[in-house]
């Protein structure tokens, strides 16, 4: 009987102890159980970036649902608010301030567009709140979020991270892979010069093509508000280039491809992150068939957690995920892992934000994007997938680049 009492006492002691302190693997001393981890996402659900934002949102919501269903982060529940910046830089900045100061969110995600990140990220940095970009691929997103042509300020930003593949890696690898395959001699670049994402991509193309023997015949700049791009496409096609580079986003790539094919141009389209969603591939249709881009993710990738993610996403939304969904899903898991190890107090918000920032730097988890760690510059280093539009709204894999060159 004494033995039974002793065992019962020990069992009760263990239960009480386990309730009172988190698992030893996290190294935490504070209690998470019953607490709330508030996250806020700033996404372009409407406007030009509305092609990409909803997928990020769906990926994030799925991850939050899964984590909370599995008991949360050491017992703490994640709450995520999705905030639409309407693809506007000013709105993104305003939301950043509201979520940090009024809503008192622990960390933020987004915004969708590089153009908006220029407004939002420096604000999060100055308010010392971690912000994880999930789809922004432009130049100077990380590490130097305060950089501008006027200031040339390249001081590293401590609170800004991204899990999206920068165009400085993606575009050169895409160009290199096509140059190796087909040895193109000439190209024309079509670039929306009033958009940061597009103009950054255009700059990267101009900086890269020479390395692979491609003579850039002309750079045709246009405004993203130009309704009819047939004049610009005619100018490009008349130069008979082997490649047309398109670094724009939203509906523009499909417009350009459709017009060029109508004019019987049979060369290769090479693009950037703007290509990497089924919506753009579907809009381009047959005209887009074979158009190549480098992607951070591919539906059929064999990373262990990708199959689980794809299956759960299909069950939840009855459709396939895309790169943006995978990056949103990965982002929530990255923040959850960092929060688990951060020994959050839930009483000292500024201190918690700083602890989270510190543990984000040491994240090392499996995601649908592959094994994930941030570089010292808070950027992502990962496998690059060169994909091609299949003419039916999907993509086929062309190359898997495990050690990207840039």
């Amino acid at each position: 009987m004494k033995g039974v009492r002793l065992v019962s006492f020990l069992a009760a002691a263990i239960v009480v102890a386990s309730c009172g302190s988190p698992p030893t693997s996290s190294g935490n001393t504070n209690t998470y159980s019953g607490k709330v981890i508030k996250l806020g996402a700033i996404l372009s659900i409407t406007g030009a970036g509305g092609v990409y934002g909803p997928q990020s949102r769906d990926g994030m919501n799925l991850a939050v649902k899964q984590i909370n269903a599995a008991g949360g982060v050491l017992g703490a529940t994640i709450t995520l608010t999705i905030n639409d910046d309407a693809s506007l830089k000013a709105t993104a900045a305003q939301l950043t301030q509201t979520l940090i100061q009024s809503e008192q969110d622990l960390a933020l995600l987004g915004p969708t567009l590089s153009n908006s990140a220029v407004g939002a990220h420096p604000l999060a940095e100055s308010l010392k709140t971690p912000i994880l970009a999930v789809s922004t691929t432009g130049i100077h997103i990380v590490p130097d979020c305060n950089w501008s042509a006027a200031t040339q300020d390249s001081t590293p930003c401590k609170y800004v991270f991204r899990d999206s593949l920068g165009e400085q890696t993606a575009i050169p690898n895409n160009i290199q892979s096509y140059a190796n395959d087909a040895h193109p001699a000439t190209g024309v670049l079509l670039v929306a010069s009033d958009d940061k994402f597009s103009s950054d991509g255009g700059q990267i193309v101009q900086d890269t093509v020479g390395k692979y023997g491609i003579n850039l015949l002309k750079v045709i700049k246009f405004s993203k508000a130009q309704p009819d791009l047939s004049g610009e496409v005619t100018q490009a096609v008349q130069l008979k280039p082997d490649v047309i580079f398109i670094t724009s986003l939203g509906g523009i790539p499909a417009k350009i491809m459709t017009e060029a094919r109508k004019q019987n141009w049979t060369g290769q389209f090479l693009g950037g992150n703007g290509f990497n969603t089924a919506t753009v591939s579907a809009q381009a249709g047959a005209a887009g068939m074979g158009a190549r881009s480098a992607s951070a993710w591919y539906l059929g990738n064999t990373f262990p957690s990708n199959a689980e993610f794809v299956s759960a996403y299909r069950t939840e939304y009855n459709k396939d995920p895309d790169q943006f969904a995978a990056q949103g899903y990965a982002a929530i898991n990255i923040l959850a892992d960092a929060a688990k190890r951060a020994n959050l107090t839930f009483t000292d918000l500024a201190g918690d934000r700083d602890k989270l920032r510190a543990t984000m730097e040491t994240v090392n988890i499996q995601t649908p994007l592959g094994p994930f760690q941030f570089t010292p510059q808070h950027d992502v280093k990962q496998t690059v997938w060169v994909i091609a539009m299949d003419g039916k709204g999907g993509f086929t894999l062309v190359h898997k680049i495990t050690t990207p060159t840039a």
Binding site: S44, I45, T46, G47, A48, G49, G50, V51, G53, P54, S193, D194, I220, K221, F222, S223, A225, Q226, P227, D228, S230, G231, E232, T234, G250, G251, A254, K255, T258, K262, Q263, N264, T279, A282, Q283, G285, A286
Partner: protein
């Protein structure tokens, strides 16, 4: 150069067709209907949706799309304009009211995704979509180095014929005389026994139907249908067109549309694509300074 000229005439036709709706309402009511760009988008969106999501043939969808835009004209009149007119609200109130309706229409389309309330209307949210290949008869010919696409070529005669018909109606029919009487002096028209409200309603229905048709043609020819095609592509340009052509003048709107298309082309060829809008608005500024009444507008005189 031939191709570029053809493209300029095509886009000029779209501007003209769109701007006629603006100018018609301005001519009769002396107010700008800023919901017109949303109606332009609505025409394209609903036609696309009828074809792709509801299995209608393109021609049936086209007729229904134009009709739906005509109904939208009724909404503009009965919700945005008539109540304000009854209260003798200043024109600025009507302007704001139509901006509000435009925002509501765009937001409704933006929210249209599978499983939402607006899914019957639109399921593509903020995405830009195009009619699937084969859904719209659109043969393309290559003649003497020019690419002639049926959807682009057709817009030119459609615009011209519609403008001729509209011009005839306005000039030689009972309805047209009634509309012109209302435009000249609504109070006198009412004293002469004309149903002014009915005339205004008719104006908005015609104007919105034309705006919707312009949107459909734009969507077919450019393969770009999204909640923002009106706001981003034609709203400001439409205003420029009616200033160039003369506020309230139908021939002016047509001439202004083609003129804007040509100015944009010249700017593109001479200075590059980014100069298009800058040069176009510089021309607009010049017109306002040198000939404020526009190409076909009457001399502005203050009534005392």
């Amino acid at each position: 150069m031939g191709q570029q000229l053809l493209d300029a005439i095509f886009i000029g036709s779209i501007y003209a067709l769109f701007a006629v709706g603006y100018t018609l309402v301005f001519g009769i009511l002396d107010i700008l209907n800023l919901a017109h760009s949303a109606v332009f988008m609505f025409g394209a969106a609903i036609t696309y949706s009828l074809v792709v999501n509801h299995g209608q043939s393109f021609w049936v969808a086209c007729v229904l799309g134009v009709a739906a835009c005509g109904v939208m004209g009724l909404v503009i009149e009965y919700i945005c304009l008539r109540p304000l007119r009854r209260r003798r609200a200043p024109p600025i109130a009507a302007l704001i009211s139509t901006i509000g309706l435009a925002l509501i229409i765009v937001a409704a389309i933006e929210q249209g995704r599978p499983g939402t309330f607006f899914a019957w209307l639109w399921v593509d949210g903020a995405n830009s979509v195009a009619f699937p290949t084969g859904a719209v008869p659109n043969p393309t010919w290559h003649v003497a180095g020019l690419t002639l696409e049926a959807s682009r070529i057709a817009i030119i005669p459609i615009t011209i014929v519609l403008m001729v018909v509209l011009g005839y109606v306005m000039r030689f029919t009972q309805v047209g005389r009634g509309l012109r009487a209302v435009a000249e002096n609504p109070r006198a028209a009412r004293l002469m026994g004309l149903d002014v409200d009915r005339m205004i309603t008719l104006t908005l229905v015609i104007s919105s139907a034309l705006g919707g048709l312009a949107g459909i043609l734009f969507g077919v020819a450019l393969g770009d249908i999204s909640p923002y095609i009106g706001r981003d592509n034609v709203e400001v340009r439409g205003l420029a067109v009616i200033v160039l052509g003369g506020m309230g003048s139908i021939p002016g709107a047509v001439a202004g549309g083609y003129l804007l298309g040509l100015i944009e082309l010249i700017a593109f060829l001479a200075l590059g694509s980014n100069a298009r809008l800058g040069v176009a608005f510089a021309a607009l500024f010049l017109m306002l300074v040198l000939r404020p009444q526009g190409l076909f507008g009457a001399q502005l005189r203050e009534k005392v």
